[in-house]
């Protein structure tokens, strides 16, 4: 008994270690950063040369979500802050929060004030703030300090008149300043969004964050999941854990599993989420990762929300959807509650089904379908109209509906027949 408890404790410790690693971007991206071709070293070179050579740069970090743009950037920034502790100040903005030029400038001024222990006034106007920013750029340039502007969700800054970007980039090339503007975006065409005079001032360094290759992924999984030999965990446990992991990794079934998972989305962030889930399923009494854990994680990941919705529907709701489908087959482009009701009645009349409900009950079912987003209104017009008169559209395809009906346990046989006809 006591031994088992101890073992459980041990495996919990290992689990915690793995989890903390998986949620630490620093650990995840560090091994991918040492080669000279990596984005990490390229980015670090660009920023550190702008610190040491006192020049201005503007960089775009592009790549799909989850490819580690911000994580790598933070890694670089933390390294550089260690290297040049006094010479760097980082201003962070997010396009979703500060897409308005006025509030973005205010935020810049606020962070600059924070950074240099100055007093910040909330009521300062746009002009005041932009002049303050330019003055600060100049002063920091004279004091050998580099200001790094990190603009996350850069595409939101590239909307409207782009005053912020213009004044930032214009200041960078007219004033004797040291500043780096780093735009982070998942939109690949973000530089096309810039207005031409802003684009002309932008220095167009682009770093593309791509998904890792297959071999890299395998190495990466091993790197994350294997326990370190020098941790507080007992040596023989670690050795056994790693040995089993190695066996697991070379398992063909495991490779296939990972492949299926990654065939949908091939980014590191996505993979890490999956691994976290799998690790969490680890059996504490056994204390080792098994193929089963990964399988559970995969199945919990591959969910089909619409099909599950159908599974939760009532029989009446199924009837209504089948009616809509039939209406569509009849090439009736738009239909509302009443046209569905007529179809429903006609089915009932011709087949004499046992499931016939009154109109108000059907309306309830109809509303529920709307809430589940299995159907939706065609347009946003006619808000003042009552629900039953507005045209709607079925949001799931007939194939899905068919599949859903098949998997529905108490599905009346007539419904499947109706689908085909």
């Amino acid at each position: 008994m006591g031994r088992e408890k101890e073992k459980e404790k041990l495996s919990e410790k290992a689990l915690n270690l793995l989890r903390s690693r998986l949620s630490d971007p620093n650990f995840i991206f560090r091994p991918l950063s040492d080669s000279p071709d990596s984005n990490y070293s390229k980015l670090k070179f660009i920023i550190s040369t702008s610190v040491t050579e006192a020049c201005n740069n503007s960089i775009l970090l592009l790549g799909p979500r989850g490819s580690g743009k911000v994580a790598v950037l933070e890694l670089v920034l933390s390294d550089l802050l260690q290297q040049y502790p006094e010479a760097i100040s980082v201003i962070r903005l997010n396009g979703l929060l500060h897409s308005d030029d006025n509030c973005a400038l205010k935020e810049i001024a606020r962070q600059l004030c924070m950074e240099h222990q100055l007093l910040f006034s909330k009521v300062a106007s746009f002009d005041d703030n932009s002049q303050f920013m330019i003055a600060m750029l100049r002063e920091c340039g004279l004091a050998h300090k580099t200001i790094i502007f990190v603009l996350d969700e850069f595409d939101f800054f590239a909307q409207g008149k782009q005053r912020l970007l213009y004044s930032l980039l214009d200041a960078m090339q007219s004033v004797n300043s040291q500043a780096v503007v780093i735009g982070v975006s998942c939109r690949l065409d973000v530089d096309q969004l810039l207005e031409k005079r802003v684009r002309s001032r932008f220095s167009h360094r682009k770093l593309l964050f791509l998904s890792p290759s297959k071999e890299d992924t395998e190495r990466f999984i091993e790197h994350i999941l294997s326990l370190p030999m020098d941790s507080s965990l007992p040596h023989n446990y670690t050795a056994e854990f790693n040995g089993r992991l190695k066996k697991l990794l070379s398992d063909e079934r495991f490779k296939e599993l990972i492949d299926t998972y990654l065939s949908f989305n091939f980014t590191i962030g996505h993979l890490v989420r999956f691994l976290f889930q799998a690790v969490s399923y680890m059996d504490l009494s056994a204390g080792f990762l098994s193929l089963g854990n990964f399988k559970t994680a995969l199945s919990s990941n591959q969910r089909q929300p619409k099909l599950e919705c159908i599974r939760d529907c009532s029989v009446l709701e199924l009837y209504m959807m089948v009616c809509m489908k039939r209406l569509e087959v009849k090439e009736q482009a738009s239909y509302n509650f009443y046209s569905v009701m007529t179809e429903y009645k006609s089915i009932h009349d011709s087949f004499q089904t046992s499931d016939y409900y009154a109109a108000n009950v059907c309306l309830r079912a109809f509303e529920h379908l709307l809430q589940c987003q299995l159907i939706s209104f065609i347009d946003n017009k006619g808000h003042n109209q009552s629900v039953e008169f507005r045209p709607v559209k079925l949001l799931i395809s007939s194939a899905e509906l068919h599949q859903g009906l098949k998997s529905y346990q108490q599905c009346p046989a007539i419904l499947l027949k109706l689908m085909d006809r």
Partner: protein, 942 residues
């Protein structure tokens, strides 16, 4: 090691050490052995000195102003025994002051005020006499023109000495002559306050001290003085203003630009050695030339300076003797030996002869001070004073000497003091790094100054490169100095405004700390705080490689010396502006400049304005005012009125009020402020941003030049060629007459621009530059883009080089930018990265994209819905043995692609009816996916 590297960058002045030409003869150095004989001092002085006055400026001055301060200081000196002498006006030791004070002490009860300097004359007497003189001689004395005015220092004739002090009436004339009149403010009423503050500040100084050098004690004293000054100075001056207002009478100070004093010529802006204290200077005579460290003799042949210990050596005294001064750095044998860890003994001077230290050595040992003359004036009592800005040596800063400091490095401080000219020893040369690198044999008194040191925050800041600019920069630090300048326009109309200012100023000291940095009421509060605590090592200890130099000169921020390829346009602008200024009427002058971004529009105009400004300075063109506005930097188009009005008058008002006032000025010809009759040139960048719905802003601005007497010239810059045509006819008729087009650069021009910047730097292959410029010329003709490509190429080359050096330990790598680098840069800049992303995206995404292309080919319609696409997808999957993942997963894949904008799609909740479209040509997709390894069957459908 670190001491060695910096020298590579700044070649220290190289030595044939010759005696500086301009050094005054030693005998004439004023040695003020003050003490009991003080009263006789003026007499002695008069016998030796002649004065030459070049330009003079008059100023009100309170006679009694500095006197009590002196006394107080003396008190302070006694009480605190601190070397307070750097503070305020006197550079005398407490000892002297004490005796003086004792002497004067007796007189205080009777006269109430203490006579300045010469205790025999009561200030009242002096003052009244002077006033009389000033009035009576008013007609006969020509201000500032008397080339040589022998000063007879006989006290009886002191009035005559003040003859060149001009009375108020005269002063007004002086104003017309555009001589700046500076108002000196009296210090009196704040003195008590100053005294009160001293104790705790003194403590503060003690607490924050960290001297490590052997001069610990010395610098401590000095700092304490400095610290106190720093805080109280501003307050003191502020209170002065008030006193001054009330008692503005005929007492004046005379300001000069240049003074010949004691045989030396001193000008504003000169750097001088300042005596630290009496006993230090009693340390016998100062050698004009340095002695050889070996033979201890002066002269006789060429000397060489060691770059480490700065000692001088005769070439022939060295072992082995040198024939001529070697190039590069040279370190003497002693220093070399010391570096190797040996004990070195410098040759001892011959018996009976003490080694005489030069002024430079004394300064660097902080036995002397150096200061920069900011202004020169003659006090009412005839003594000559200057306002000095202190230089300090690295040891005196909070961080001490840093390893990469040069031997001859000084820092300029933001610490000012009024110093009597008595204490000047002679001139020295404090140079910027550029000058310093060139200065090879300019003697021993050459110093380097690159940074300004803030004595309050103990931080360093690089000096702004253009010295004129620096006034603006330090504006917030020294209000008193600034206020003197503002007072130039001390006319009656401005009085009210000024007084208001003063009230504000008076209230300021208590609230200064509460004022926010970004609420710009004319300045940014606390921005001085910004500065480095240490000068970063990488700035100094790094020798730039060719590639790094190339990168630096290709920066957009570096202003080129000349603008190639825009001569014609610049000429046109010049003739336009000149014609407009010189024309008395300035009727309807408006120039519209257009061209694509990066063709040098703004830069050319600014260059023209710089040229014209230099002509104005030379006096060949009448002065004008120049206002620059950028449409994109305005929060709203209407704000332009505020900006223009503020630029013209310095007052900030709301835009409605500003519009009204500007209308009055330009349309009705009413004068708002002095100097309004000057023509005004208004440069509006990004003019198209000023277009409002009813276009009233543009109309107003373009209407003013047509008014008689407006003297307004508008230069508008925008990108579109047909902006005037897009506007209302009444605006286009006013603007569209004179236009200037900046066409895109062709490749030869771009090549010339780049190579003119790269002149003297061998970092680029010739074809590489041509390739870049041809590419840019073909796409946009944007010079910025071309420069950026080259810079990026240099960066790539640099990156590769550094990586290779770190991996392989060979220096075979060529540090030249090749075609390949330029190509890489162009690829990065111009190529959309979608192909790469498509190549590396997930399996399902690839199938999805293929299905889209397939669908496109099948239907010929660009747009498709998710339902159709999913059907195609499932068909593709089943026929090629792939598992179909389900609709919901497929929807997610589509949305992911939409996020990257590889496809354009509606929001995901549209599900089946979601509309999708490829964002890139289908050929790109085909190219990217054709040979994907994991899904070879895709090629069939592409």
């Amino acid at each position: 090691m670190p001491t060695e590297t910096p020298r590579k960058q700044f070649q220290s002045p190289k030595k044939p050490k010759q005696s500086p030409n301009n050094v005054k003869s030693q005998s004439s150095t004023p040695s003020i052995h003050l003490s009991p004989q003080t009263p006789q001092l003026p007499l002695r002085r008069s016998s030796r000195r002649s004065l030459q006055l070049f330009t003079s400026k008059t100023v009100d001055e309170m006679l009694d102003l500095s006197t009590p301060r002196k006394a107080l200081e003396a008190l302070d000196g006694i009480g605190k025994c601190s070397g307070n002498n750097r503070k305020g006006s006197s550079v005398r030791t407490p000892r002297t002051l004490k005796c003086k004070f004792n002497e004067e002490d007796r007189e205080i009860p009777e006269m109430g005020k203490v006579g300045e300097g010469n205790g025999e004359v009561s200030p009242e007497a002096l003052e009244s006499k002077k006033r009389k003189n000033g009035l009576s001689e008013e007609g006969s004395v020509k201000m500032g023109k008397s080339p040589k005015c022998k000063l007879n220092e006989d006290l009886g004739k002191l009035g005559e000495g003040n003859g060149d002090v001009v009375s108020p009436e005269k002063r007004k004339k002086g104003l017309r002559n555009e001589e700046s009149v500076k108002t000196r403010k009296s210090l009196r009423c704040k003195l008590s306050e100053e005294e009160m503050e001293i104790p705790d500040l003194g403590k503060l100084g003690d607490a924050t001290f960290f001297p490590v050098s052997p001069q610990a004690l010395e610098s401590k004293k000095r700092k304490k003085g400095g610290e106190k000054r720093a805080v109280t100075r501003a307050m003191a001056t502020r209170s002065l203003k008030k006193v001054n207002k009330e008692e503005k009478k005929g007492r004046k100070r005379v300001y000069y630009k240049k003074v010949v004093y004691d045989g030396g010529e001193f000008e504003v802006g000169d750097d001088v050695y300042v005596k630290r204290r009496e006993d230090a200077s009693s340390d016998d005579e100062v050698p004009e030339m340095e002695e050889c460290r070996v033979c201890f003799k002066v002269g006789r042949g060429v000397m060489i300076e060691c770059d480490d210990c700065l000692g001088g050596f005769h070439l022939k005294c060295l072992t082995p003797p040198l024939k001529e001064v070697p190039d590069g750095d040279w370190v003497c044998g002693f220093c070399q030996a010391r570096k190797l860890g040996k004990d070195v003994e410098f040759p001892k001077p011959p018996e009976g002869k003490k080694r005489v230290r030069t002024l430079r050595e004394k300064l660097l040992a902080s036995d002397l001070w150096a200061a920069r003359i900011e202004s020169l004036w003659k006090e009412v009592d005839g003594s000559y004073w200057f306002r000095g800005r202190w230089y300090i040596i690295p040891e005196e800063t909070a961080s001490g000497r840093q390893p990469h400091n040069l031997k001859r490095e000084l820092y300029r401080t933001n610490d000012f003091a009024d110093i009597e000219m008595e204490s000047i020893i002679r001139q020295c040369d404090v140079m910027s790094p550029k000058e310093y690198a060139k200065a090879n044999d300019q003697g021993d008194d050459v110093f380097l100054c690159e940074y300004e040191y803030d004595i309050q925050w103990h931080s360093f800041k690089r000096l702004a490169e253009i010295d004129n600019d620096e006034d603006g920069e330090c504006a917030n630090g020294d209000e008193d100095w600034n206020s003197c300048k503002e007072d130039d326009s001390d006319t009656d109309e401005d009085m009210e405004y000024e007084e208001e200012n003063e009230r504000n100023a008076h209230a300021r000291p208590s609230t200064t700390h509460q004022l926010a940095a970004n609420s710009r009421k004319g300045r940014f509060f606390g921005i001085r705080k910004v500065g480095t605590k240490m000068i970063p090592e990488h700035v100094r200890c790094h020798k730039q490689t060719e590639l790094e130099r190339a990168k630096a000169t290709l920066l957009l921020a570096t202003l080129p010396k000349s603008l190639p390829c825009r001569n014609k346009e610049m000429e046109e602008i010049t003739t336009f502006v000149k014609g407009a200024i010189c024309d008395d009427q300035c009727l309807g002058r408006c120039l519209y400049i257009h061209g694509v971004p990066g063709t040098g529009k703004t830069m050319s105009v600014l260059a023209v304005m710089r040229n014209i400004k230099s002509e104005v300075d030379a006096g060949s063109i009448r002065p004008y005012c120049f206002v620059e506005v950028n449409g994109l930097k305005l929060a709203a188009p209407e704000n332009i009125y505020t900006v223009i009005y503020e630029a013209l008058t310095g007052h900030r008002v709301s835009w409605k009020k500003a519009l009204q006032l500007l209308n009055e000025r330009f349309s009705d010809g009413k004068k708002i402020a002095k100097g309004d009759d000057r023509p005004c040139i208004l440069l509006i960048d990004e003019l198209d941003l000023l277009v409002t719905r009813n276009q009233s802003v543009l109309y107003n601005i373009l209407d003013w030049p047509t008014k008689p007497h407006s003297k307004l010239i508008v230069i508008g810059i925008a990108n579109t060629m047909d902006l005037p045509e897009k506007l209302l006819p009444r605006i286009s008729s006013r603007m569209g007459i004179q236009r200037l087009c900046f066409g895109p650069y062709n490749y030869q021009q771009l090549q010339e621009i780049i190579s003119s910047r790269l002149k003297g730097i061998d970092a680029f292959e010739k074809q590489a530059v041509e390739f870049a410029s041809r590419k840019v010329a073909a796409i946009s003709g944007d010079a910025r883009r071309a420069l950026e490509i080259c810079r990026r190429a240099a960066e790539i080359a640099d990156y590769n080089m550094k990586n290779q050096i770190s991996s392989v330990n060979s220096s075979t790598v060529k540090d030249v930018v090749t075609m390949a680098d330029v190509d890489a840069a162009i690829q990065e800049m111009f190529q959309a990265p979608h192909v790469q992303v498509m190549k590396s995206c997930s399996k399902l995404s690839k199938i999805f994209l293929t299905a889209m292309v397939y669908e496109l080919y099948k239907t010929g319609m660009g747009e498709t819905t998710f339902e159709k696409l999913a059907m195609t997808c499932s068909c593709l999957c089943t026929s090629n043995g792939e598992a179909f993942p389900g609709w919901d997963t497929l929807l997610k894949v589509g949305c992911k692609l939409g996020e990257c904008r590889i496809i354009l799609c509606e929001a995901g909740d549209r599900h089946r009816v979601q509309k999708l479209q490829l964002n890139f040509p289908s050929d790109d997709v085909a190219f990217a996916l054709k040979d994907s390894k994991d899904l070879p069957w895709l090629a069939k459908y592409l």
